[in-house]
């Protein structure tokens, strides 16, 4: 995923696996990231996404997009989006589609007054 987004021309900071929500948010803050993308295969998305969203709010990261994908049932997606999470992509989602989504989301952010 990181490689695909780099190939699409984005700067990607891959933090590795087993990062805590605090580590993820801190890295994004330090790197002044436009987007936090999470790949969650463990089934722990209903804890991790809301926790990261909460930390982002605490840090004033309202203009940073949080999105992701992985082993996340469709039924859980509305609940995540209520916490401010953007699109959730299922396993096997098109890398082009994901790159397009990120590009458009960031572009919209930078053109909004």
């Amino acid at each position: 995923m990181a490689r695909a987004l780099r190939d699409a021309g984005m700067e990607v900071i891959y933090t590795g696996v087993h990062q805590t929500p605090e580590q993820v948010v801190e890295t994004a803050l330090q790197e002044d990231a436009d987007v936090i993308g999470l790949s969650l295969l463990s089934g722990a998305h209903n804890y991790l996404f809301p926790r990261i969203a909460e930390l982002m709010r605490e840090k004033g990261m309202d203009d940073v997009l949080l999105f992701g994908g992985g082993i996340i049932p469709e039924a859980d997606v509305p609940g995540l989006q209520k916490h401010g999470v953007g699109r959730i992509f299922p396993p096997g989602a098109s890398l082009d589609e994901i790159a397009k989504y990120v590009r458009e989301a960031v572009s919209a952010k930078h053109t909004t007054a």
């Binding site: 295969l41 463990s42 089934g43 722990a44 209903n46 804890y47 082993i71 049932p73």
Partner: protein, 131 residues
């Protein structure tokens, strides 16, 4: 941080989805696992499939109540048997490789599987060859 039997100790909160199954009826548990296993089989990369399967097995071993752990493991075995053969194959391969990632967790899970399989329907037993 290693656990008592050599498995990796994970101090993160338990998987909310799995935790919500505690006390659920059998059909709900089977359907939960069927969807989880389908999605895991759909992960396009083998390493990532192993990475997806292993923590889910780990989460099961974190359920303190043994009877509940057995019940949810049984539901998983039944759900697996309902999957198309191609998905079963992908998951079986990922399961074999998961032993190399976290032997302690997988040995504990296999022990439960070995205890439960003889009591299950032949169609479920045949879907679960010994690793």
């Amino acid at each position: 941080m290693a656990g008592l039997f050599g498995s990796k100790k994970d101090t993160r909160p338990i998987d909310v989805g799995l935790a919500s199954l505690i006390g659920s009826d059998e059909n709900t548990a089977i359907e939960f696992w069927r969807k989880r296993l389908e999605m895991t089989a759909s992960v396009p990369n083998e390493i990532a499939r192993v990475g997806a399967l292993t923590p889910q097995m780990r989460e099961l071993t974190r359920i303190d109540n043994l009877e509940e752990r057995k019940r949810l493991t049984k539901a998983r075995l039944i759900a697996f048997a309902k999957l198309p053969a191609e998905q079963q194959q992908l998951l079986a391969t990922a399961r074999r490789k998961a032993f190399e990632v976290d032997r302690g967790v997988m040995d504990a899970d296999q022990k439960l599987v070995d205890d439960l399989l003889p009591g299950l329907d032949a169609s479920v037993r045949s879907a679960h060859p010994k690793p």
